[in-house]
Every structure is written in C-alpha cells, then in structure tokens.
C-alpha cells in the first residue's frame, strides 16, 4: 500500500489535478517503493539482515509527506514539465527535491515506528531512530 493517496497530494498542491491527469496513484506507489528502499538501505541494513525488512511494518502516515515530496520531485512534476526555458514545473521539482531530503532526514531523526513483532500495534519500544549527517546537494 502506498504511503500517500491522491487526496493527500491535494492537501500539499491544491491545483495538482488541473493539468489533465485524473490520478497520480502510479507515481505515489513508485515513490512509496523508493522511500521504502531508502529506509531499508540507510536504517535497516545498517544493523540487520536486509532480507528480513518488511516495508508494511512501517507506519504509513509517518512517511506520507516524504512520499508526496518524492513523488512531486521525481515523477509527477517531470511528467507535467515540457522542459522548456522558464518552465515553472522544473523550478518546483528543485523545491520539492529539497523538501524531500529535509523531510526524510527529519523523520529519521525524530523517530518512526516499525512494528517489529508484527502484532499490528505500534508500541513505544518500536520507535526507531536514525540520525543522518549526510549533506545532500
């Protein structure tokens, strides 16, 4: 399941569906996979066996904004852009790429849930942290 849906996207960019596209579900699904892969690479695989990572144990709502910013920067706005000079979508791509990097680092540092025992309940003991000092440009 994707961390974000079309309705969540509208909360960030109210006019996103004014461009002749009915849904961005495929883009949000792809971004969810990309975000999960990055969580796995930068947090899980640093400490545990990569084979045992289960993305569905993450709490989707915590990764909603990260996923939306990623989708806008890497899939949605490139789809809208005509890649001409002074194209507003290209400027927005840069803006959302930076938001994505910031938001990802913030969620990692602030702590996020991973339902380790798979009981469907997020407990305090299941809050994970990962401080990254990487500088993204």
């Amino acid at each position: 399941m994707a961390h974000a849906q079309d309705d969540d996207l509208v909360k960030i960019v109210p006019d996103i569906f004014d461009h002749g596209v009915d849904t961005f579900d495929p883009e949000l699904t792809r971004s969810t996979e990309d975000v999960n892969r990055r969580i796995k690479a930068e947090w899980w695989s640093q400490r545990r066996d990569p084979k045992n990572f289960v993305a569905s144990k993450l709490k989707s709502s915590e990764w909603e904004r990260v996923t939306i910013y990623h989708a806008l920067a890497y899939y949605i706005l490139p789809r809208l852009s005509n890649f001409q000079e002074n194209d507003t979508f290209q400027r927005q791509m840069i803006f959302y790429r930076e938001r994505y990097m910031e938001e990802f680092a913030t969620v990692m540092a602030a702590g996020f849930f991973y339902d380790d025992d798979g009981d469907g309940v997020y407990e305090e003991a299941e809050v994970e942290y990962n401080r990254t000092e990487r500088l993204y440009r």
Partner: protein, 145 residues
C-alpha cells in the same frame, strides 16, 4: 445563491467534456491559457467559451436565449501531420457524440445543436487546433437568466 441557467449549462458542457476518457483529453477550461505555461499533460487542451448570446421575447415574462459556444481543441501535433489530424478527428467525434447524448444540458436547455466544425489550423508550431461551434437554446423568466 443558485447559479444562473447560463452557468449551469456551461458547467454541464465542461463536466461532460471532462468525462470523456477515450480518446484522452487534457485540461478542459473556460479560461484561455498561455500554451507555453501549460503542462504537457494538459494537451489536448479544450477551451470552452461563449462567443455570443442572442435573446428574444417569447412571452411577456419569458425569454428565449441562444448561447453560441465555441469548443476549441488544441493539441501538440508536432505540425499538421496525418497522425495529428486523425487524433483530432477522433476527439472532435467524441465531443460531438458526448454533447449530443443529452441535448438538454441536464435539463437546463431546450436544445443543443452542433452548428459548425472548423478547419484544422496550425496555431503555433507544433500546435494544431480545431473549433466546434454549438448553439444552445434555453428559456428563462424575465430577470432570471
């Protein structure tokens, strides 16, 4: 406050155009747009405008009004190519078919008729456009358009 009949009719036209899924349409709007600022996905771009409106008395308190509505389809055809023209033909047919399915505009008009289909014209390379002109008749009570 309820919308005027004129607005309800235009809203219905836009709603019906937006419901066309095949062939795919891009942005459907009542406002002209600067093409260079539109998203790629906004094409084929469909502009709905009221060109003119004529009125005549049909009774002391009733008027008959005819809205002349232009529906201009602009697509990124990479020039006036055969492919662009066949795509345009499919779109024009779909619009005609959709708007004629309910000529009463959801009960707000007496008649919707296609008056003219213009020629395909090269708007600004690589854009091509074609305009359908519709006449939509509706009645209203004096002072209540």
């Amino acid at each position: 406050m309820s919308s005027s009949k004129r607005q309800l009719i235009l809203d219905d036209v836009v709603l019906k155009l937006k419901s066309i899924k095949s062939p795919r349409l891009g942005k459907v709007s009542q406002k002209p747009e600067e093409f260079s600022r539109l998203a790629r996905t906004a094409f084929p771009f469909v502009l709905v405008t009221v060109v003119s409106e004529t009125k005549e008395d049909i009774a002391m308190d009733s008027r008959l009004s005819t809205l002349n509505v232009d529906i201009k389809v602009t697509l990124d055809g990479k020039g006036k190519t055969e492919n662009g023209e066949s795509q345009m033909t499919a779109i024009i047919e779909a619009i005609e078919e959709k708007l004629e399915a309910d000529r009463s505009r959801d009960g707000n008009a007496q008649l919707t008729e296609l008056l003219e289909v213009g020629d395909v014209s090269a708007t600004a390379h690589p854009l091509i456009s074609q305009t359908l002109s519709f006449g939509i008749q509706y009645t209203y009570l004096k002072g209540n358009t």
